[in-house]
């Protein structure tokens, strides 16, 4: 048995440790502290007053915050489920079918994930554009002009336009993860299913999904946190949170309060609240999808 180079290992972890402390832990502790103060952009340090829970109390009387919270929850309820559903189906088709263009589709579906999210936002705002947008044009061609509307300017549709863009850009990413997981399932299992007379749909629901339960659980949590994070950029680019707050999300409201209104303390309180939601939901969904081992 060779002696472990303890010192060497310690030194090697040092850079990562230092970076984590300087760029993650310290700012995070600072954020927790700030959320209990009335700090503004210019009074971060000594001039700010400790206000204890005032920021958190204000949060629940602030109708814009509540609106942003509702919108975020709506997105979290809808986006991960649809994203994972489609990514699973695509992954299944790409691995199980005998399509010759498989690798081409794999590339195309993954493509949105490597484009900058700002670009995704701009592209989709053109899709939903009231006069030049492809969606309104399609509706016209299909003789459905009565359904045409200013998609991003209508409070009933703006949030769902953002959801559509979120789903579109995320499907490919999770598809690749699921492809890898499906590749890990022994082909014998599918062969056995085929011998038992299972068709593709049955294979998908009775073999693939149960075998991928653990992976799906992990990707679901990833997708939840992705929805919280990415909805900020898309909402900023596509609608600026409008109309009248109908598509604002938590992180965007945090940015508005922190950067535009210069209320650092309040913004940090919103950030802490968002973090708490993300953590709680992740724990719950891990419990439900169950890692039995």
């Amino acid at each position: 048995m060779t002696k472990k180079p303890k010192l060497f290992i310690a030194v090697c972890t040092l850079p990562a440790l230092l970076l984590t402390i300087v760029f993650m832990l310290a700012p995070m502790c600072n954020a927790v502290y700030l959320s209990f103060t009335n700090s503004t952009a210019l009074s971060v340090g000594s001039n700010s007053k400790f206000v204890f829970l005032d920021n958190y109390k204000y949060m629940f009387q602030d109708k814009l915050f509540i609106l942003a919270l509702q919108n975020t929850l709506k997105l979290m309820a809808v986006v991960p489920v649809i994203t994972l559903f489609f990514s699973l189906i695509f992954a299944f088709i790409l691995t199980q079918s005998k399509l010759r263009e498989k690798s081409f589709y794999r590339l195309i579906f993954f493509f949105p994930s490597i484009i900058s999210l700002t670009v995704v936002g701009i592209v989709w705002s053109f899709v939903f554009n009231p006069t030049k947008g492809i969606l309104n044009h399609l509706l016209e061609i299909l003789n459905l002009s009565s359904l045409q509307k200013a998609w991003l300017g209508d409070s009933k549709t703006a949030l769902w336009c953002i959801a559509a863009a979120l789903i579109w850009q995320a499907i490919g990413y999770y598809m690749v993860m699921h492809v890898a997981a499906i590749d890990g399932i022994s082909s014998e299992v599918y062969e056995a299913a085929a011998i038992d007379g299972a068709n593709s749909v049955q294979k998908f629901f009775l073999v693939t999904i149960p075998m991928l339960k653990n992976t799906i659980g992990i990707t679901y949590v990833l997708s939840l946190s992705g929805t919280i994070n990415l909805s900020f950029t898309l909402s900023n680019v596509m609608t600026a949170g409008g109309p009248n707050g109908a598509s604002s999300v938590l992180l965007q409201y945090m940015y508005t309060q922190g950067m535009r209104n210069a209320n650092y303390g309040y913004a940090m309180a919103i950030a802490m609240f968002t973090l708490a939601i993300a953590v709680i939901l992740a724990v719950i969904s891990r419990k439900i999808t169950g890692n039995k081992e």
């Binding site: 970076l19 971060v44 009248n244």
Partner: protein, 465 residues
């Protein structure tokens, strides 16, 4: 042992390299080249640096390049480091927070980024009253007397209501209903004076087909301030505006304001609004109007410059008229598009910044602004100086002030208490989209603004405790 030392060295170098990145200056400061070209340190420490941060908006950057060059030529030993960007606030905000602000800022307080508002809230701007009390650049009078009357006293320049000037006026220009003069002449349409005229014209245009009466910059409903404030001032007088500016109880939810909000709602409710407007950004709405899809758009004189490359309908000729009033003999207010300069209280070189500011009001600078940006400084002689440089269309738009029964309107809310979490402009204008979509009543709109005002009054009390 030797291996450990090497590992330690590599690990440390990794850390130091990544930390080095933090120290470097990340912004894209563009050093304006002095015409002399040489920046060698001269004797006696006369070498001075001025850091200026400029918002690059519809007027472009040519004026700033030119005026900086002229300033360096006329001020020996001065180097101006200019950062100019459409997102200037995002660039300088971290510098200001870190206690290293630029010496001079050209950025408006109505800008989406809210930077100047937060500096006002935090009382972080330098008192610049002395510049205006002092001599002008030519040395033939007080600078104050060169500036258009009423600007320096307004809340735009003296935000705390005590007459102390913290923000300097940059340009001035009318904002109102922009229309295509050719279309109006060809179709024998009459310019509306009252709201009734406005909607009658709308019916006439609708009958002729192909065009809506009005459009605005949809997803940025804040542009409608150019319509809302003049309309309220016309209906309720300046008292109504002053009450709103100081967030008085009942200043927004009252009969006068409701009657004006009702007219704005009617634009959409009765089908006078260009379909799809609520989903357009400013460029899209402006392009549609230029193509003849709408007879009017609300905007300022910069639209000529901003949309210079956009296609228009045949024979398009810019013209501007006032926002409709309720009764024919009401004063027709015109909201001024004044932008602002400011000097941060922590500026490293405030004296040179003040000198630069004084220089900006000189005739040479005013002429350069007209030449390169096609616009007019907020000085009394600026329009005359600019006459030779600006386009006829722009010059004619300035003629709106010469119309019958008109008056200029400067509108600015009083400074917010520093603990306030309200964004007044959002509170007033964001509901417009809901009103236009029919999701909100004007009473609901007025009440939501009143609620925000109540919160601001409460914040004020909390702060003064």
């Amino acid at each position: 042992m030797k291996r450990t030392v090497i590992a330690l060295f590599i690990a440390l170098s990794l850390v130091s390299v990544s930390l080095l990145g933090c120290g470097s200056n990340g912004n894209e400061t563009k050093q304006a080249e002095a015409s002399s070209g040489e920046t060698t340190v001269s004797t006696g420490g006369e070498q001075q640096e001025l850091n200026i941060a400029i918002f690059q908006g519809g007027y472009g950057d040519a004026y700033w390049e030119a005026v900086v060059e002229l300033f360096e030529e006329t001020h020996e030993g001065v180097t101006v480091n200019m950062t100019i960007s459409p997102t200037i606030a995002d660039i300088i905000r971290p510098q200001i927070v870190a206690g290293n602000p630029p010496d001079f800022i050209a950025l408006n307080d109505t800008q989406e980024d809210g930077l100047i508002l937060s500096l006002i809230k935090d009382k972080a701007l330098l008192d610049i009253t002395d510049i205006f009390e002092g001599q002008n650049d030519a040395g033939n009078g007080t600078l104050k007397d060169d500036i258009i009357d009423g600007l320096l006293e307004s809340a735009k320049c003296a935000p705390y209501g005590d007459g102390v000037v913290y923000l300097a006026p940059f340009n001035t220009g009318p904002q109102g209903l922009i229309y295509n003069k050719t279309a109006f002449t060809d179709n024998n349409w009459e310019l509306p004076v009252t709201w009734d005229d406005f909607f009658t014209l709308g019916d006439q245009i609708a009958e002729e087909g192909g065009r809506s009466l009005f459009t605005y910059q949809g997803i940025y409903p804040g542009y409608l301030e150019e319509m809302l404030w003049p309309a309220i001032a016309s209906a309720g007088g300046m008292e109504a505006i002053e009450a709103i500016c100081s967030y008085e109880e009942g200043s927004f939810n009252n009969e006068v304001v409701l009657s004006v909000l009702g007219q704005i709602q009617k634009i959409a409710a009765d089908g006078y609004l260009l379909p799809g407007t609520v989903g357009m950004n400013h460029t899209e709405a402006q392009s549609e109007m230029l193509l003849g899809k709408a007879a009017f758009i609300i905007n300022g004189t910069w639209m000529v410059n901003e949309m210079a490359d956009a296609p228009t309908e045949d024979g398009f000729e810019y013209a501007m008229t006032t926002v409709p009033v309720i009764n024919e003999d009401d004063t027709r207010y015109i909201l001024d598009s004044m932008e602002q300069f400011s000097i941060p209280a922590d500026a490293r070189n405030p004296e040179l910044a003040k000198e630069f500011l004084r220089f900006l009001y000189s005739d040479e600078s005013v002429a350069l602004f007209a030449e390169h940006a096609g616009a007019v400084y907020a000085t009394k002689t600026a329009r005359e100086i600019a006459k030779d440089y600006i386009s006829e269309a722009t010059y004619n738009m300035y003629g709106i002030y010469d119309g019958e029964n008109t008056a200029s309107l400067i509108m600015n809310f009083e400074a917010l208490p520093s603990n306030s979490k309200i964004n007044v402009s959002d509170e007033v204008f964001n509901p417009i989209t809901s009103v236009m979509n029919g999701d909100m009543t004007v009473e609901g709109w007025a009440q939501s603004v009143e609620d925000a005002f109540a919160q601001i009054r409460a914040d004020r009390e909390a702060e003064s405790e």
